[in-house]
């Protein structure tokens, strides 16, 4: 129990001071960690959102779009890194690629579902009013889909922030440098860096929940329930934007009780 207390001191001592054997402070490492995560997230968003939007708009390839996130989740991150190492070496690139492989699928799936499930009637009305396809996409589908898209990005962010710790083994920097290094920093050091990591994860959740709330059209907001999770009651899981991937059975192959939809209720990935 001592270590837990010492860990606090550790954070306090080394937040602004250089850690032993390096010229970085904990604050520096935290920034590195965030930067690394950000790089991966940007790439993941650039890949996932446009592709998801396209597929969702044309209502095609639903099976792939929805199940790719299951696939992405299943892939062990360390395994991916191991496979990449011979090709991209021990570098930040390897870690980023692995992070993108794991972050992009949920974003893709969420975006797909978000766009796809904008009600057919709404889209129809928009077309009937004379909007061109891209206008429909940008002015109607996108705004309605934004909360869900951001929910997907939020999930991926928490995941990436957590998994970026692995870079401590493979030369990417960040908090992993401490967490993966008990030999140098002792158990309390690892715990201390973990405190910081947990705070980062929680903060990113809060930031994104705020963004989601902000981009939800006022009419669709449900204030008190926004951040509170609860088990779904109805047979058809509502598209609750606070869920990670609501997936309300958009695919033609999806049965209303498709467990893939429930599969996507989990909280985002494990902090590595």
């Amino acid at each position: 129990m001592n270590d837990f207390v010492r860990a606090f001191h550790f954070v306090g001592d080394y937040w602004s001071h250089h850690l032993l054997g390096s010229n970085h402070s904990l604050a520096d490492l935290t920034v590195q960690h965030l930067v690394l995560s950000l790089k991966a997230m940007v790439i993941a968003v650039v890949i996932g959102v446009p592709l998801g939007m396209l597929l969702g708009h044309i209502h095609r390839f639903s099976f792939i779009a929805i199940n790719v996130s299951n696939l992405g989740r299943a892939l062990p991150s360390l395994g991916i890194i191991a496979i990449l190492l011979p090709y991209t070496g021990i570098s930040e690139t390897t870690v980023i690629i692995a992070l993108v492989v794991l972050a992009a699928p949920p974003i893709l799936t969420n975006t797909y579902v978000a766009i796809e499930q904008v009600e057919v009637g709404t889209v129809d009305a928009a077309r009937g009013l004379g909007m061109r396809p891209w206008e429909v996409l940008v002015k109607v589908e996108l705004p309605l889909a934004l909360p869900l898209i951001f929910a997907g990005i939020r999930t991926s962010t928490v995941f990436v922030v957590a998994t970026a710790t692995l870079s401590g083994f493979f030369g990417g920097g960040g908090l992993g440098d401490v967490i993966a290094n008990p030999a140098s920093f002792g158990t309390y050091g690892v715990i201390g860096a973990s405190y910081v990591l947990i705070v980062l994860a929680i903060l990113s959740q809060i930031v994104f929940l705020t963004i989601e709330y902000a981009v939800t059209p006022r009419a669709l907001r449900r204030p008190l329930r926004w951040a509170i999770r609860r088990a779904p009651r109805a047979r058809n899981v509502e598209a609750d934007p606070t869920r990670t991937h609501p997936g309300s059975g958009a695919g033609a192959d999806d049965h209303p009780d498709d467990p893939n939809r429930q599969l996507q209720l989990e909280q985002g990935s494990k902090i590595e």
Binding site: D3, G21, H24, N70, L71, R73, A74, L75, P76, S77, L78, G79, I81, A82, I83, L84, L85, P86, Y87, G89, I90, S91, A162, T165, L166, S167, G168, F169, F170, G171, G173, D177, I179, A180, N181, S184, T187, V190, I191, S194, I198, R229, A231, P232, R233, A234, R235, V237, D257, P259, N260, Q262, L263, L265, E266, Q267, S269, K270, I271, E272
Partner: protein, 249 residues
């Protein structure tokens, strides 16, 4: 630039790859080519297979024990709904603890043995298994529960004959997530205790980035997760034949 690279470079800077000598070292291995199939086949049963089984064992035991615990908790919370909040909170907190930290914290308590790994791994499964089991049960439509009661099933009979079977898809979905999550985390466990496929990965690091070993271990790891996921999907389809039935006209 970072401690990681410092560490890695200290290991093998200027020394060239430290390839283990297995007697006749092939050229492929000496040159650290991408994947030396012969080496892999030669060493499969001594180096990789046991690790694979260790990995499977870690996963199965952790998810199995976690499932039992989560199942009991979910049944309790199903009867007494006020429990759902506290249990979710506790399991969430457990889930949030970074795995490396968790393993390390336990070392002084449970020593350098399997328990140090089993305890955190099991606790990481609790959140998803509890959430999905409870969600599966509460997701059973009210009219079906009404029909069950109205036809004379006792609460117990209704639970076991109607509600649980209908909750299976959701529960299985949770099990799938739990399994692949633990497969992934078990690789990380090797940083603390040389066990499972993760051990092969870290070992390869120490051997100067032995490429074949990286790829072998990495691919095995990925395959394990995918195969496990696929098997569970099949299992679920076998156990819930009604979910595939469609109106033919």
């Amino acid at each position: 630039m970072t401690l990681g690279i410092v560490r890695a470079s200290v290991l093998y800077a200027d020394k060239g790859p430290k390839i283990p000598d297995f007697g006749k070292t092939s050229d492929c291995v000496k040159n650290n080519g991408s994947f030396c199939w012969a080496w892999f086949r030669h060493n499969w049963s001594s180096q990789f297979e046991p690790r694979l089984w260790e990995h499977i064992e870690l996963t199965v035991v952790s998810v199995g024990v976690g499932f039992v615990i989560a199942f009991v908790l979910a049944l309790l919370a199903y009867r007494a709904r006020w429990l759902a909040g506290p249990v979710t909170f506790v399991t969430s907190v457990l889930y949030t603890i970074p795995s490396l930290a968790a393993f390390l914290i336990l070392v002084p308590i449970t020593g350098l043995g399997r328990m140090t790994l089993y305890i955190p791994l099991t606790s990481y499964t609790l959140l998803i298994l509890f959430t999905n089991t409870l969600a599966g049960l509460t997701g059973v439509p009210d009219e079906i529960k009404d029909a069950a009661r109205g036809n004379g099933l006792t609460p117990m009979q209704s639970l076991w004959q109607v509600e649980l079977p209908l909750a299976i898809p959701t529960i299985m979905a949770g099990v799938r997530v739990a399994v692949v999550t633990i497969v992934s985390l078990a690789t990380i466990a090797a940083a603390v205790e040389p066990v499972g496929l993760g051990e092969r990965i870290f070992d390869a690091l120490n051997k100067g980035n032995f490429h074949t070993q990286f790829i072998a271990a990495g691919v095995l790891c990925v395959l394990l997760a995918l195969v496990a996921d696929g098997l569970l999907v099949l299992l679920q389809r076998v156990v819930t034949p009604w979910t595939r039935a469609r109106r033919t006209r």
